[in-house]
């Protein structure tokens, strides 16, 4: 490895006032990592269905438990937030939405939208009898 040379540094992260876009950038990455672990739930579900009644009953017992339901609720929010926030990044990739007002609106919409959609989805789950 070459010797370290002292180069001028750009101002560090703490220099800046924390904004919503910055915070949600971190949350986007965090939800991405959470979903990475969450894919194990998806695989468990598919393998349990392919394995037989006993394995599937085990999955259903977990999904119906207190902690299971909490994890699934968190997984739902992480998925919906990462989706909406990701759409926001796709819009920015196409160079739209960079004006201050649009930028803030998109960011708020992703956050509020994710909460509203998650609750709506779970209302639907209980309405369809999945919460038994």
């Amino acid at each position: 490895m070459p010797a370290r040379i002292d180069r001028p540094l750009s101002p560090h992260l703490q220099t800046y006032r924390m904004t919503l876009t910055m915070a949600l950038s971190v949350v986007h990455r965090a939800t991405g990592l959470a979903l990475y672990a969450g894919t194990l739930l998806l695989v468990w579900w598919l393998i349990a269905a392919a394995s037989g009644p006993a394995a599937y009953a085990q999955l259903q017992a977990f999904a119906g438990s207190w902690i299971g339901r909490l994890i699934l609720f968190g997984y739902t929010w992480a998925l919906v937030f990462h989706l909406l926030s990701g759409i926001r990044y796709l819009i920015w990739d196409l160079t739209y939405g960079f004006e201050a007002r649009e930028r803030e609106w998109l960011t708020r919409a992703a956050l509020i939208g994710s909460i509203v959609l998650t609750i709506l989805l779970w209302v639907l789950v209980f309405a369809m009898g999945g919460g038994r």
């Binding site: 990475y36 194990l40 695989v43 009644p53 989706l83 990701g86 759409i87 796709l90 999945g130």
Partner: protein, 132 residues
């Protein structure tokens, strides 16, 4: 500046000229967006599939998951999500892990995990589809 450059009569430009690039520098960037858009399209049918399975026993779930259209949509979603998460977590590793060997080990582990998750899910879907 390292010693090799100092002892050589060749200029830095002559050393890189004609080598060109691998023309694949934006490969992961593009595939991350390709899989993101795929999942934006697939998420609504995927949510519908999960909703259809709520409250059903293994036999009912297996029958639904094994039907052709649902199996294909699930396969597409699994492939897109595993590819997307492999790229995403690799970016996180490259951002935060600067010890070369540890970084290589983590990138390998990430690739193994993503391929294993994808293959396990694909295997389960094929098994459900073949009805054995």
């Amino acid at each position: 500046m390292n010693t090799e450059t100092q002892s050589s009569m060749r200029t830095p430009m002559s050393r890189v000229r004609r080598l060109g690039t691998a023309k694949s520098g934006t490969g992961d960037f593009w595939r991350q967006r390709l899989t993101a858009v795929a999942m934006v399209l697939l998420i609504v049918p995927m949510i519908a599939i999960v909703m259809m399975l709520l409250g059903r026993n293994q036999a009912g779930a297996a029958q639904i998951l094994g039907s052709p259209l649902i199996a294909i949509v699930t396969l597409l979603f699994v492939i897109a999500s595993c590819w997307h998460m492999k790229i995403g977590v690799q970016v996180v590793i490259e951002d935060y892990v600067h010890t070369e060997n540890l970084k290589l080990a983590l990138i390998m582990a990430n690739t193994f995990f993503s391929i294993a998750v994808a293959l396990a899910a694909i295997y389960a879907i094929f098994k459900l589809s073949s009805g054995v």
